[in-house]
Amino acid sequence: MSFNRRSFLKFSGAGLAAAVAPQLAFAKAGKPHVVVVGAGYGGATCAKYLRMWDPNIQVTLIEPNAQFYSCPMSNWVIGGMRSMDDIIKSYANLPGYGIKMVQDTAVGVDANKRVVTTGKGKKISYDRLVLSPGVEFMTDQIEGFDEGEAAGKVLHAWKAGPQTLSLRKQLEAMPDGGVFVIGSPPPPGRCVSGPYERASLVAQYFKRNKPKSKIIMLDGHFDVVSKGPMFKAAWKKFYPGIIEHRPYNLVTKVDHNSMIVTSEFEDVKADVINIVPKQRAGAICAAAGVRTDSAGVWCPVNGVTYESPTVPFVHILGDSVASNMPKSAHVSNNQAKICAAALVEMFNGREPNPYPVIGSTSYSATSDETSGPIAVVMRYDPDKEAYIRQPGGGAADVSDELNFAYNLSWFENIWADTFG
């Protein structure tokens, strides 16, 4: 036979074997309905490709925001290189693919009845549910964070949106000679290279406008863990004396009155405070019962279908997934396509491709004319039930102008692919 059935049976999720036959019957009787939660790089892409690859599938996309704020490029706003308008993307094209947009928040899932409940009290039935909610922050692990955030003095700006603009304004209002503290958690979390890009672009702003100012990075990890040589070379060359990176320095406490940030080792007085807390899969994942890794933080998935191994008919995409894949826009978009392709096969009574491949490319800017990439290909191995990193992947050692042009191009093309 032309199929490695042993492997297929091994990786097929709880819902797959049971689901193919009924779904086939359903597909003949009517149109299968997929509800997607979250219109970001994962959810919007999944909704769009489901409709493009099989117009027989009905797709409802639940998203609370009227428009999308892109995390990629949001550091460029914080560094003063771009405006908020540049990172806002419209959802206006998505209904043109036949996607039903529901502006609401998914708050509950009845996995037995296969119904999603929304904040406005709607109940929406699904044949398959795709959760792509992004992360939520474990702010309770940092004493004083919630109070500081409520007072507008402690920002994460790790979801693009109002906090992106607030952080930019605080940096603009900061006097020359001030100290900007960035606290970042150890991986896994959203966009591991992001704090280092943020430090680079704020350093550029300080160098040009407030040259006596400093950036202190309190890093929960042991080193500049993503694109390390590239960032370190850029900081030394472009911003000598501005960025001080302090590893093994997880932030544990913040006092927004005294503006003291406390780590496992020291107290630092700050003028502007930006702390990225540890993260976990979005709340709807807990509501659906799929946030089931050993720490109860991320969502394990079947690598072929992205279905939860414990809750049938519920699939998870993007930053919420428990895996060795980077939590990046690129990976979310790519996972969405693999999930969409698998769902199309399953709804049509066929077995999905057992050997999906994920590509991950992420660019970070180090100035307003230099960027550098990291890229890796990961291939799913059904016997190991894991995505295996292929040899040769990794980050560039230096940032340069050619990669800055490619970085700009990456934004335009992923936005067109996801929302266009």
Partner: protein, 125 residues
């Protein structure tokens, strides 16, 4: 059986094309691929091969634009010569051609995947 499905798929795609904007079509793939293939060393049905190529091509869309039509500095792949595209991947892999990220990608795919991706993008007008 397989051939019948492929024709049905192609016909269906043609119909949808008129209804949806910038549709990623199966038609070029179906034309290019009608035999079983090897993925990760296992022989797969022609249909699975079509799906595999469609999905890995959609990875390329992220940097090279939807359907390989780029609006930025990264080059478009749509409508490029098939032999040129496959040769580019081989040259990225060997290092004969300089690249920023493409060598890392070329190392992650097989020679037959280069050919299938090249055929996919060459067929897009």
């Amino acid at each position: 059986m397989t051939t019948k499905y492929l024709f049905a798929c192609a016909a269906g795609t043609a119909l949808i094309l008129s209804a949806l904007p910038s549709l990623a079509t199966d038609a070029p793939l179906v034309a290019a691929k009608s035999k079983p293939c090897l993925i990760a060393g296992w022989e797969q049905s022609a249909h699975t091969c079509v799906i595999h190529t469609k999905t890995i091509a959609a990875t390329c869309f992220i940097c090279h634009g939807p359907n390989g039509k780029s609006t930025g500095a990264v080059p478009s792949l749509a409508g490029q010569d098939k032999e040129y595209l496959a040769a580019a991947m081989r040259d990225f892999k060997s290092g004969k051609r300089d690249s920023t990220v493409m060598k890392k990608y070329a190392l992650g795919y097989s020679d037959s995947e280069y050919d299938d991706l090249a055929a996919f993008f060459a067929a897009i007008k």
